[in-house]
């Protein structure tokens, strides 16, 4: 170990001209290995304040988890969960354990009961997780809170797939139970031959399938499917793409027109932040590259644009901007608080495209993740206006109203999990770290006699097929 350090120091001395100050060998090493040459954004041990921020966020999950089911609520005090919010909870759990907010015993207990649930939960038509579950009873719910199956969301499932994979990478002792939960599912309808993702909803007792996902979340969800060996080629492609210009900065936008297909395609921070914190904007199978290099170049560029226009809005208008989807305590309860949507920059709309321009927030989860990922003068300014937006007994609020400065005191698993993810990212870097350990599910998929069927990828297929896949993914290089 010592020799390596010495080598680095040699390298360092020639760099001092650039303003790197070396006081002692040790602090020099720390500063150097933590610098932007090796990492994106912030890297290093958490400060006392940051640890306290993490504890506040974890408080949410302490308050909102249910022993009976192992689940956590998606909104403070509201007993329902989606696959996205289960992924939030997993992210929070991993962070809480790795930041040492909880001990091994508590982690083991919480994770085990959640995995138990995932292996026992009723599935929509026996195929895939339903969109919503009751966190008290573990039963499937519809949007009105009735016990009823309604369908699945490929985007929600995608995020859950990512976090289940991260859990099994970092806590390999649990991987078997993770794999078993997923092996229960049937993937035939959620991803097609060309690699598009589909949502299924129940219409007149039949499943109605629709392509799901627009630029941002579509690519993010695709990473989850890719992580489990699927080939979501169309979903992970940024196409179809158009470019819009805000303050002179080009930003990618989904070219599919919501006026034709009724699917909104707002540009928001969170999917890009997730892809940054979890994947470092790398290819999913990238095990080697430094965190300062982003092997999915296009995504990295798209994420940078999303950050940059928000900073530019601040520079040009002096309006603090950190935007993403959020919940709120008043009508309409959920908003796409976007950078661009339905033809307009800085459009804040509901899922019915109604405009709520006075309900735009400086979002806590957007600001936190931007600060950790980009670490600029602007993100410091953002942190100044959101760092007190919490109730120490309940967790972090959604954000601060752009139009008035007031708090939006709604509290969600999404915001609190994102805060924990961001702080964990600061301490450990990229969260999704693939390895070569053989897993239970791979053994199943690799053997024609043990294969689970249900449209799982067949790793035993002739080599030709796999070659094709690699050439396609190689495009991102």
């Amino acid at each position: 170990m010592f020799t390596w350090k010495a080598l680095i120091v040699t390298a360092l001395f020639s760099l001092t001209g650039c303003g790197v100050v070396v006081r002692t060998i040790d602090s020099g090493i720390t500063k150097f290995t933590h610098s932007g040459l090796f990492h994106q954004g912030q890297y290093g041990e958490l400060s006392e304040q940051e640890l306290n921020w993490a504890k506040i966020a974890w408080k949410y999950f302490e308050n909102n988890s249910h022993v009976e089911t192992g689940l956590a609520n998606s909104i403070d005090g509201y007993p329902s969960a989606t696959m996205t919010s289960i992924a939030d909870y997993l992210a929070a759990l991993v962070a809480a354990r790795q930041l040492d907010l909880i001990d091994k015993k508590e982690f083991d207990h919480r994770l085990s009961s959640l995995l138990h649930f995932l292996n026992r939960m009723p599935l929509f038509m026996g195929r895939l997780p339903n969109k919503i579950y009751d966190t008290k009873t573990g039963k499937m719910l519809d949007y009105k809170g009735k016990n009823q199956e309604i369908g699945w969301s490929a985007i929600d499932i995608g995020r859950l797939l990512i976090w289940l994979r991260i859990v099994s990478q970092q806590f390999p002792e649990f991987h078997e139970y993770v794999d078993k939960a997923i092996l229960r599912w049937n993937f035939c309808d959620v991803i097609d031959q060309e690699g598009s993702l589909y949502t299924g909803t129940l219409v007149d007792k039949e499943i109605s399938l629709h392509q799901e996902g627009r630029l941002g979340y579509e690519e993010y969800a695709a990473m989850g499917f890719r992580a489990w060996g699927f080939s979501p080629i169309k979903a992970e492609s940024l196409n179809p793409l158009e470019v819009i210009t805000i303050y002179g900065e080009d930003v990618y936008h989904d070219a599919r027109d919501h006026r034709d297909d009724n699917v909104l395609s707002p540009i928001m921070t969170l999917p890009y932040s997730f892809m940054g914190m979890e994947f470092n904007w790398d290819r999913v199978d990238d095990m080697h590259s430094l965190d300062s290099k982003h092997t999915n170049t296009l995504l990295n560029q798209a994420a940078w644009q999303v950050y940059k226009v928000q900073e530019l809005r601040y520079q040009n208008e002096k309006i603090y901007t950190a935007r993403t989807e959020h919940i709120l305590n008043s009508e309409p309860y959920f908003l796409y608080d976007s950078i661009f949507a339905n033809g307009y920059a800085w459009n804040t709309i509901s899922d019915t495209s109604k405009r709520y321009k006075n309900k735009a927030l400086v979002s806590v989860k957007a600001a936190f993740s931007m600060h950790i990922l980009w670490n600029t003068d602007y993100t410091y300014k953002l942190m100044l206006i959101i760092e007190e937006l919490y109730d120490a007994k309940r967790g972090w609020f959604e954000g601060r109203y752009e139009s008035s400065g007031g708090y939006e005191e709604a509290i969600s698993s999404s915001t609190n999990a994102t805060v924990l993810e961001a702080l964990l990212y600061k301490q450990v870097g990229k969260l999704f770290r693939p390895n070569k350990e053989l897993t239970h599910s791979e053994i199943r998929m690799d053997n024609v006699f043990k294969h689970p069927g249900k449209c799982f990828p067949a790793l035993y297929k002739p080599k030709k097929e796999t070659k094709m896949e690699t050439t396609v993914t190689a495009k991102f290089d």
Partner: protein
């Protein structure tokens, strides 16, 4: 940190010795909003990139002029001198009257009608202008009954609804063109315009205002005009000496990139202000044909020099992006506002409006893509101003779309569902204007610098007060 990773670190550390100071904080550049805008007052001249069509009309083109004129023969009301804006419907606006005058000047210049015919049509119109009731003693109402010259509402029933600064602006341009070309009408034209009160329609900062008012309700004044139309209409006021400082500026605008072209659009937000910020060919085409994208009182520069360079540049982009759409999508494109034969009767068929490229909307903002069309006035107008293979193709697409008894059709639907079976004064007038432009270039053709009645009254300290004439506010 694992030893493995450190190995990579070291290799990397050695590598970066060569790449001196590298910052991960990408510093922000100044945002660019596309082409820098040159102050209109600056003595800057620009050469047009594309010469327009020039030369004698061919036999076919002369025949087109005769067909287009048919419209005005059919829809003329000898008593009022007015012409229906839409075939067989006795209602008109100042905008459509200006298009009619453009058509009539064209046929006179092209020798299709003689001076006597012009007189018999224009003198009753001057009479109407000097007699008609104005909107609340300010300027003409938005709509008049073509047969009776009475103020009407949009249902053509007697009443009043307010006025449009854009319509008035275009009308003022044509009053100026006729006054300069045919000095024999100058005094009657001046008298008609001296009846008007300009206090509200253009304010002290040179902003144009439209008015809304119903019976029993006070007038509300609303800033009128968005990028393209606003500057075009402002030139009408400026030609008569009014200060149009703010209206004549392109600002506020933003840029959207379409097929690599930087397309300017008005950045006043249609969601809060209701007015749509449509980008269409018509405003730029009219300004090009009538005023050569020149400063209003530019008497000297030739046709290949444009003394409002930004407008020439924007017009160029508006043309280019439509050509680019054809190249990239195969859809023949000549977009502008146009009429329809059925409800909703009128659409803004745009290059961009209300957030979307190639958006086609109704007055209320409803998205109606099936009504996108090649508008004849847009296609022919671009053919006149840009002599290119693409406009040749546009010409081939539309030059025979007429009913010889009625004039030119309004357009041809982009989705292949045929022609827009409607005939309008605006469409046929602009087609005629364009044909004249081919023979003569810029239509505003200044005559001798006489001291007219208008000039005398504007210059006098004792008459023409309280109407906010130029310099008398």
């Amino acid at each position: 940190m694992s030893v493995n990773k450190l190995k990579i670190l070291v290799t990397f550390a050695v590598l970066i010795l060569f790449s001196a100071c590298q910052s991960t904080n990408k510093s922000s550049n100044n945002p660019s909003y596309g082409e820098k805008i040159i102050e209109q007052s600056s003595p800057y001249f620009t050469k047009g990139e594309q010469p327009g069509r020039q030369g004698k009309l061919s036999e076919k083109e002369m025949n087109m002029a005769k067909v287009a004129w048919r419209y005005f023969e059919n829809n003329f009301h000898p008593k009022t001198g007015l012409v229906n804006a839409v075939n067989n419907y006795p209602s008109t606006t100042l905008w459509d009257t200006a298009s009619y005058l453009g058509g009539m000047v064209a046929v006179r210049e092209l020798g299709i009608i003689d001076k006597r015919t012009f007189d018999t049509r224009f003198i009753p119109l001057l009479k109407t202008l000097n007699n008609m009731e104005l909107y609340r003693n300010e300027v003409p109402n938005k709509v008049y009954h073509a047969k009776t010259a009475k103020k009407v509402d949009y249902t053509n029933k007697p009443g009043e609804i307010g006025y449009s600064a854009l319509d008035i602006g275009r009308f003022l341009i044509w009053m100026k063109i006729i006054k300069e070309r045919y000095g024999e009408y100058a005094d009657a034209i001046d008298t008609a315009l001296l009846r008007w009160n300009y206090c509200h329609v253009v304010n002290e900062h040179g902003v144009l205002y439209g008015a809304h008012g119903k019976k029993g309700k006070a007038t509300t004044y609303v800033q009128e005009g968005r990028l393209g139309y606003e500057e075009y209409a402002a030139k009408g006021f400026a030609l008569w000496g009014f200060n149009t400082e703010r209206a004549s500026k392109p600002e506020p605008y933003e840029i959207i990139k379409l097929f690599g072209h930087q397309i300017p659009y008005d950045s006043r937000d249609p969601r809060s202000l209701k007015a749509h910020n449509y980008v269409v060919a018509e405003s730029y085409v009219l300004d090009g044909i009538e005023l050569n994208w020149d400063l209003p009182l530019d008497r000297k520069s030739n046709n290949s020099t444009h003394t409002v360079p930004w407008m020439a540049e924007f017009a160029q982009r508006i043309y280019k992006v439509q050509e680019a759409r054809y190249i990239h999508t195969g859809i023949l494109t000549a977009r502008t506002e146009h009429q329809l034969a059925t409800s909703p009767y009128f659409v803004y068929d745009t290059i961009y409006t209300d957030g979307y490229a190639w958006n086609t909307i109704t007055e209320s903002g409803k998205y109606v893509p099936k009504y996108s069309a090649i508008a004849l006035k847009g296609a022919i107008g671009m053919w006149g101003l840009w002599d290119t293979p693409y406009t040749d193709l546009l010409f081939d697409a539309v030059s025979d779309l007429y009913d010889e008894n009625k004039g030119f059709y309004e357009g041809r639907f982009e989705n292949g569902t045929g022609l827009i079976n409607t005939f309008t004064a605006n469409n046929n007038g602009i087609i005629l204007e364009t044909l004249l432009y081919k023979e003569q270039g810029k239509l505003l053709n200044f005559g001798q610098n006489r001291n007219s009645k208008w000039d005398n009254i504007v210059g006098s300290d004792f008459v023409g007060l309280n109407k906010c004439l130029p310099g008398k506010r």
